[in-house]
Amino acid sequence: MSPPVVLLTVALIAFVVLIVGAPLMPARGPHGERGGELDTPPDPQLEVAREDVEAEREAKYREIRDTELDYRTGKLSEEDYAAVDGTLRAQALEILDRLDALEGSDLTRERESTDPGD
């Protein structure tokens, strides 16, 4: 291999190591000592649960809108629409409650972590 090719190869290897190794560098503190973007949330389990409930909420809102459109385009009678709509809105409320509970526990945890008694 000619010298420029060797040089290019070495440069590529260095580049790859840099990209791949960056998260592993000791410069990043273990907990919350980094500036800018927050890569690791305080509690991954909570984050996962929250994303999930939010997605459920989006899906439920869409269902409510779809049912209304079904009613307005004449596919559902008034009584059927009222029944289904009621069920869906009740389910939406339940999802919102769950979301509130998650956000509440999140807020509580944040309050606790900044508590001087910790």
Partner: protein, 720 residues
């Protein structure tokens, strides 16, 4: 430079290995920095493979014949555009393209999910890197694109003239994008099972990936059909060839998945079914890739020897057994949350649609792999032809189109029966009207085509009614003028109305398929100049011969040395319909045994067909000039004997002149097919509708808040 390319492959292999280990360690130990590092390994892989691909591409453009692949598939006389595309005409180059596209799409998918679904994404990273590593190792050990020969040959063999068509060059990247995109939902599906999390967030992400796969794969398939029809000499767009089928199967399961996913989203049902569909789509995509390369089945695409067969079989075995194990071991978390409320609901139509699509896939699978199956079971290899495929796919396609017209008219969850009955009047009316017209015009003597036309009319009626009613409802609510209302309606309900447009497109496409296959007139005729003949209602006259010679580039820019053809005038009932100019291109063969003149035109001849398209019919013709005629061969023989390779082109000039002065009779393949353009138009409508359906709605957040406020209000009222 080839050294750099090969080094890239080795580096890529190492990065894949590292990424797999880092991701799995990161997710199992909870150490996020390792998962991040694993994700970045995919980004790094994309960079490395881009460099490798560029090295190969530049070698082709610079005519660096020290690269074996370049010498085998390109030449100085190959036009630049085809030289650039020749990269993926070989086994080695196409593997590199596959791996490169996989790394790009995987990087995009992982970038989009970098803050969410960390556990699932980490597993998915490992799986995607596994696939990439597999393809990279194939290149390192079996089919190295960077193999060199020294000293480098002076001239390459040239790109097979059969591939020198623009569509043929876009089709592989599109198709490979489709195939590689199918592995992403597979990876996220397996990741979800491994992480034991199949939920709303996963659904949202995987829908986008599955749509991207469906979109690109569908375009790839349609481009292949169009290439086959408009540039190959057989005049058909679908032959139930093994390779065509291999690309269609994952597209069918992908379509089924996009529909049944909506049911899982709404009702928490069909989780096992959906996960199985996603795994099947990915596995079928890998099987499709394998089929093209193994020569295991007789097909027009003979892409490489059997050396790649064993590794692929191992991979597919691992995929199938892994998938089955994962689904069975996680079946507890895949339990349905609800059941079907009513059989008269959009959910049950979707389930029926899924069954038909999977049924179609099974039929095609059985027919495609039948030679292997029959050999295993009876010891005698046998294959089924297009008539067998048609017999089973046509009724299924009819049911599919019919279902796509029923779905829009039925509500989710539980439709009101009385309303449904009333809503069907317009679509059924449209179908009956079409039936009457078909009977009146005598079309009904082809019952299958008539059935398809009526089903399509049903769909047009049902979708048209939906758009009309939706616009009317919107106008009642918002008081907008009709065009604005229509636009607002579609914008605010993209998934629904985009989906309706897709169904409309499918109906149009099938109308085109039915018309062009049932009412086609095809014939072979021999004509001399000035002669005319009748084919059905058309009169065809050979007006005059044509000949083009260029030492390097011909009018079609495909690099043929000599191009012989004719001008054909087609008329119907005395009125001119079209003037066609088909030709046959003769290419350089680089074979000295054919003589100095003979080798200039002794290569692969390629037919350049002429097609006059309109919305109602295509008039298509291909010519096979009689180059073996004694009058022409005499010139070749004399030229071989007297001229050196420098002057041989002069003889070609004489050949062209002789052909123009006194052309021997030529064979023509002449086809009139109705409504072929409906197929391509329908396809474009499908993809347009798909884009609308998937386009993210900006006002979703605002709408969400409105509903939430109302919900809160309702709750507040209940408390009081």
């Amino acid at each position: 430079m080839a050294g750099l390319g090969y080094a890239c492959l080795l580096l890529a292999f190492a990065v894949c290995g590292y990424g797999i280990c880092a991701s799995i360690y990161g997710v199992r130990s909870g150490r996020v920095e390792f998962s991040d590092s694993g994700r970045r390994a995919v980004y790094a892989l994309a960079c490395i493979l881009t460099v490798a691909f560029l090295v190969l591409e530049v070698a082709f453009l610079r005519n660096d014949f020290s690269f074996n692949t370049v010498a085998d598939t390109s030449s100085r006389t190959t036009p630049t555009f085809y030289r650039a595309a020749a990269v993926w005409s070989s086994q080695e180059g196409s593997l590199l393209l596959w791996a490169w596209l996989l790394s790009l799409w995987a990087s995009l998918a992982l970038f989009l999910t970098r803050r969410r679904m960390r556990d699932i994404a980490a597993y998915a990273t490992a799986i995607l890197l596994g696939f990439a590593g597999f393809f990279v190792s194939l290149m390192i050990f079996y089919a190295n694109p960077f193999k060199t020969t020294s000293p480098a040959p002076a001239e390459g063999v040239g790109l097979d003239p059969l591939l020198r068509f623009p569509t043929m060059m876009i089709h592989p990247p599109m198709l490979y994008s489709g195939y590689t995109l199918c592995t992403i939902p597979l990876a996220f599906g397996m990741g979800a099972l491994l992480a034991r999390r199949v939920d709303a967030d996963w659904i949202r992400s995987i829908r986008r990936f599955a749509f991207a796969a469906w979109f690109f794969l569908g375009i790839g398939i349609l481009l292949g059909a169009r290439w086959s029809y408009s540039e190959l000499g057989w005049g058909g767009y679908w032959g139930w060839d093994a390779v065509e089928n291999a690309s269609l199967m994952p597209w069918l399961t992908g379509t089924a998945f996009l529909h049944s996913l909506m049911i899982q989203e709404k009702r928490g049902m069909l989780k096992v079914w959906n996960v199985s569909l996603v795994l099947a789509t990915g596995t079928l995509a890998i099987m499709g890739t394998f089929l093209v390369r193994s020569g295991v089945l007789n097909s027009i695409h003979a892409f490489g020897g059997a050396t790649l067969g064993v590794p692929f079989v191992v991979l597919i075995g691992v995929l199938i057994s892994g998938s089955i194990y994962l689904v069975v071991s996680r079946r507890d978390m895949l339990r349905s949350e609800h059941r079907l409320d009513s059989l008269i609901s959009r959910e049950s139509i979707f389930i029926a649609n899924n069954i038909v699509l999977v049924g179609l896939c099974f039929v095609i699978f059985w027919g495609t792999y039948f030679p292997l199956i029959s050999e295993a079971l009876t010891g005698q290899e046998a294959s089924v032809g297009p008539p067998w495929f048609d017999r089973y796919t046509v009724p299924l396609a009819l049911i599919l189109v019919l279902l796509s017209g029923i779905g829009p008219v039925i509500a989710w969850r539980r439709a009101t029966l009385a309303n449904a009955r009333r809503n069907f009047m317009v679509p059924i009316g449209a179908a009956l009207l079409t039936l009457l017209v078909m009977v009146a015009t005598g079309v009904s003597h082809k019952p299958l085509a008539t059935a398809m036309f009526c089903c399509a009319a049903f769909v047009f009626g049902s979708v048209g009614q939906e758009f009309y009613r939706g616009t009317r409802a919107r106008r009642a609510m918002a008081g907008e003028p009709a065009p604005r209302a229509l636009l607002a309606l579609v914008r605010r309900n993209r998934r629904r109305y985009g989906g309706y447009i897709v169904h409309l497109g499918i109906a149009v496409l099938f109308v085109g398929v039915a018309a062009s296959s049932s009412f086609q007139h095809a014939s072979e005729l021999g004509l001399s100049p000035g002669q005319s003949t009748r084919v059905g209602a058309y009169t065809i006259r050979y007006v005059r011969p044509t000949a083009t010679i260029t030492p390097r580039y011909d009018a079609a820019h495909t690099g043929s040395t000599l191009s012989l053809g004719a001008i054909i005038a087609v008329s119907k009932g005395g009125k001119p319909v079209a003037t066609l100019a088909p030709s046959e291109g003769y290419y350089n063969s680089q074979d000295p045994s054919q003589g100095t003149v003979g080798s200039l035109i002794g290569g692969q001849p390629v037919s350049h067909i002429a097609n006059n398209s309109s919305f109602t019919r295509d008039v298509w013709t291909a010519i096979a000039p009689d180059i073996e005629a004694p009058s022409l061969q005499r010139i070749v023989k004399v030229g071989n004997a007297t001229l050196g390779s420098e002057d041989a082109i002069v003889a070609i000039g004489y050949l062209a002149r002789a052909y123009l002065k006194d052309p021997p009779p030529a064979q023509f393949h002449f086809i009139v097919s109705p409504m072929v353009m409906w197929i391509w138009t329908g396809g474009m409508i499908v993809f347009f509708g798909g884009l609308i359906a998937i386009w993210p709605a900006p006002s979703a957040v605002r709408r969400g808040i409105t509903v939430r406020a109302r919900a809160r209000q309702a709750r507040g009222m209940a408390r009081v």
